[in-house]
Symmetry: C2
Subunit: 585 residues, 2 copies
């Protein structure tokens, strides 16, 4: 008897071989004195047949049920022509069992281990070890492994060193909320889990390593949305002495390799690039899905003096009027349908959704009466509108126009089937604003983080016109998802001081929170920059999953808990006392 | 002008080439109107010469100091025969600078960036980014990268999937202390950072993946000793359906590959194996350094009726008398020297260190008068003692004899130069005790962890004679350091229940803490087992460092703090309020 053979690998060439199998009972069927078992292991499934020639084996087979773990000795034979299963990779063969033993039993599982499932997610997470046996999840984690392996080999070949940065680190008040860890040795003091290795990877550059990467765990104590997890993983890269062009080019080659080796998809390089401003104007989004058109069309000039007060008012108060031309769909959208779209844009702050249909060479719809002949001409021309088109307008302040029409564009793109799902449309977004103004708080925030380098030629505007300063930053977008982004970093002390000043830090605050970085800038910090890509999201897009939780082995729910282990959970008073803390009552 | 060239790679074959260099000023020397700069980058150092033919460059060179970051254009030339530096890899060439610019300045560093240093570690940790520029640390982290890369490729080729287990997980009361993380979403509840991915890797086996690995970060809130860090990294492996032999064999092949590819050292397989009991008896240690002899020799039988009360008493109360024969060293150890050794063994609980010297065919020393002729013969024979040998005795309870003489053996081995430092002596320790008895608490503890499988044939003794039950566990030792260990795991519910019972858990306690694992055992858990190896320690041994902190990029001090970032640190009241905790006053 030879070594164990993997079930999913058995083929016609194995016929007549005596083999040893180990795995799980996927299914048992009893049929005319015979027992058929689909035996599953990590490689796939093969059919095992128990017949009365091997009585003992048959008797054992009668006792097994789904998810029992068994060991089978047997012989590979060809299936009868009429029992060949073309849907199974092993469908031309089967194994005649001569011996079988039960390695472990199984209770009746709370749900079936099958490819498609409509079992509630909470139950699947509680029995994650059963859910993970399903073939789509098995495939997902095989691909996740492959992706990281390709990335590691690529970066190794490029001369990068994999380096580990601390998980127990210092709390900084920037960005999302830190997870804190009380210290037993230092009562009243806390470590923080890193939101990213940003500061450490910059310190690694200041340490002279020049090329760093890490598949890094990061932590954010945020309210969880559908696509966020308290812990997530990023491909974290930092380099010294490279330009942003060089960093983008290298990242492109890495992603090209991943797509080729993992999904056998060819991508052409260089990847297209688009400035932030253009992305917002054309797609109403800083991460446009360019697999389809339906772009935003601005008609502010055409409608500047419109009799329709909503248009005129928006433009007069510094906003915009933009439209989507939903080609040929006029007849397919009822007033009720459009009401639903209006509700949809309301969510994004738009007060309304005006619409016109192009019918018999006329504009039809409730606001048609406000549109002059000249405006009509202007609209049709700008929108390249033709008979049967539906025009959807939002007039509002610019950010609302972009947000609402950007979202509406995506919704219609999906619902009208405009998206070619076979495409992998990558896109770099560049020329980001360095700062964002928070109207409530009345001050500027770093759009990325406070270590991002501004464009050389914009630096002089940092104090006079902060909003117009562009960052030397770049985001990589795939099919409308942000895969990640990066930037060149500030490497001169004076510039970093200036940046903190613009962000409203006092000298003392900057020192207290980032003193070690500021110090490091004074000891020969090299020019440097990098990028971080979300691994979980890359896995999601490359495996065609729709949910980040499917890409993480043991994920948390939307309330940041784990139904499997019951984390988080209460701890003993003694543990808290050791940590010099107690609970608020 | 071509692309940037790495300083350390320039050779005679590059002579006459025009090149571009970027890096740090290692050293500047002014000599007869010329300026010599040793330019350092991640690849090494090259000498750059500034001469009056390039006046502008010379003027800039005059302004630079150590650790400035500069960019140099120049031409490679051969050095004059008499200025060749055989200690530098680039010592036959130098670069005549034609242009230079300063990319960043540097303050005078608080210590010199040189290979050997006696600067206090706290200062080096505070300026870790400067310390890391030193060539021995650069080399250490290059090797650390190589080691993980070899391990990953090996395991990938063996069909293992790299998988990430959670860092935010559930607190369990086993083993060393957990780091806790308060939850904002669930007031009063805490996550714990994992001491190891043990439970998750077992769940991965129950998920049907069969071959898992992870270079995993682990956390232990212990009092720190010289060789412990609050966070550390292990090569974590788990497999289904393999025997312990197969797991050990695979691990051996992995380590063989690491040694070969990283240090160009050949190791012969299979690695030697030794049972725990034998290791204790011969070396007084469960991680013996087998690069030298000086083994423990038991002389309890010989001295059972000794007139020397200490010997007789120890044996009568169930202990032992063992000795080390320090060959040929009798003349080199004065009474004072031996007093110091006595103090040394006192630390390990030994009440004294008896000694005898073999001189002129007689045993000499304070206790010689108690030794009968027959005992003398017995001792000389057991110890194969000859003229000039020094015999050092400990008589005590067995654990004290082993601990003290085991430690003394190592100390003498080092001090007497008995150790061949070029050797890599691997050793498997097998047949571990499953349980350890805690005399203070009056109960048994799991020697490894409560999921370790006992030897089949010992299971029946679990209740009747727990101390004699052996674990199906194996530790890998290199040169006296434990690299790590593993075991087969319990995969049947009844056996795990039994184990918890022996460990004194009530059914409810077991359910509350490990219910999810116990459940999982009931749904077709496969036979499984694995191993975990300490990456930091492997790096330490393969780079010849003597300190784990040198193998971790940003380590913590002995008090678990980071002098660079000042972690842990105080946080705001607002942060604590969010987490529903406050500090004990």
């Amino acid at each position: 008897m030879s070594e164990r053979v993997l079930a999913g690998t058995i083929r016609e060439t194995d016929v007549e071989k005596s083999i040893l199998l180990k795995g799980w009972v996927q299914k048992r069927r009893d049929l005319g004195g015979l027992i058929f078992i689909d035996l599953r292991d990590r490689s796939g499934v093969v059919q095992v047949v128990f017949n009365p020639n091997h009585e003992e084996a048959l008797a054992v087979a009668e006792t097994v049920r789904s998810e029992y773990v068994i060991e089978v000795k047997g012989q590979v034979i060809l299936r009868d022509e009429n029992t060949i299963n073309p849907l199974m990779e092993t469908g031309k063969v089967e194994v005649i069992a001569t011996e079988v033993s039960v390695l472990n039993k199984s209770n009746n599982p709370p749900f079936l281990i099958q490819d498609e499932t409509d079992v509630a997610e909470d139950l699947r997470l509680k029995y994650r070890y059963l859910d993970l046996r399903r073939s789509p999840l098995q495939e997902t984690f095989k691909k996740r492994h492959q992706i990281t392996q390709v990335v590691r080999n690529f970066l190794n070949d490029e001369g990068f060193l994999e380096m580990e940065t601390p998980i127990l680190t210092k709390s900084t008040p920037e960005g999302a909320r830190d997870y804190l860890v009380p210290s037993r040795v230092h009562p009243g003091e806390f470590y923080a889990l890193p939101q990213s290795p940003q500061l450490f990877k910059q310190l690694i550059m200041m340490s002279g390593f020049e090329k760093y990467y890490q598949i890094a765990r990061c932590f954010r104590d945020e309210d969880l949305r559908a696509d966020r997890q308290p812990e997530f993983t990023q491909i974290d890269i930092e380099t010294s002495f490279l330009t942003s062009d060089e960093i983008m080019t290298m990242t492109e080659r890495m992603m090209q390799k991943v797509l080729k080796e993992v999904n056998n998809v060819d991508i052409e390089l260089p990847l297209p690039r688009m400035k932030y401003q253009e992305a917002m104007e054309r797609f109403g989004s800083d991460k446009p899905d360019t697999r389809f058109g339906l772009e935003l069309i601005e008609v502010s000039t055409v409608l500047a003096n419109s009799d329709f007060k909503v248009f005129q008012g928006a433009i007069a108060s510094g906003g915009k009027v933009c439209l989507l031309n939903v080609k040929g769909e006029a007849a397919n959208f009822s007033r009720k349908d459009i009401d639903k779209l209006t509700e949809f844009v309301n969510v994004y702050g738009a007060k309304g959704l005006a619409w016109l249909k192009v019918e018999a060479n006329e504009l039809k719809g409730p606001i048609a009466k406000f549109i002059t002949e000249e405006e009509k001409k202007g609209i049709l021309e700008s929108a390249a509108a033709e008979e049967g088109d539906l025009l959807l307008f939002v007039a509002d302040k610019t950010s609302v126009v972009y947000d609402s029409l950007g979202a509406l564009r995506l919704k219609l793109g999906k619902e009208l089937g405009l998206i070619d799902e076979s495409k992998y449309n990558f896109l770099w977004i560049t020329d980001w604003p360095l700062l964002e103004y928070d109207e409530e708080l009345g001050r500027y925030f770093a759009a990325h983080h406070p270590f991002t380098m501004p464009f050389e030629e914009d630096i002089e505007k940092l104090e006079t016109d902060p909003a117009s300063v562009r960052a030397n930053a770049y985001d990589l977008v795939l099919n409308g998802y942000e895969l990640g982004g990066g930037s060149l970093r500030i490497y001169k002390r004076e510039q970093q001081d200036e940046m903190f000043k613009v962000l409203g830090f006092t000298r003392e605050e900057a020192e207290e929170q980032f003193g070690f970085l500021l110090d490091a800038l004074e000891y020969g910090a090299p020019p440097h920059g990098g990028i971080a890509l979300g691994l979980d999201r890359i896995v999601m897009l490359l495996t065609g999953r729709s949910n980040l939780r499917d890409t993480i082995l043991f994920p948390k729910t939307a309330s940041a808990s784990d139904p499997l282990t019951d984390a988080p959970s209460e701890v003993s008073e003694a543990q808290l006392t050791e940590l010099s803390i107690h609970l608020n009552s």
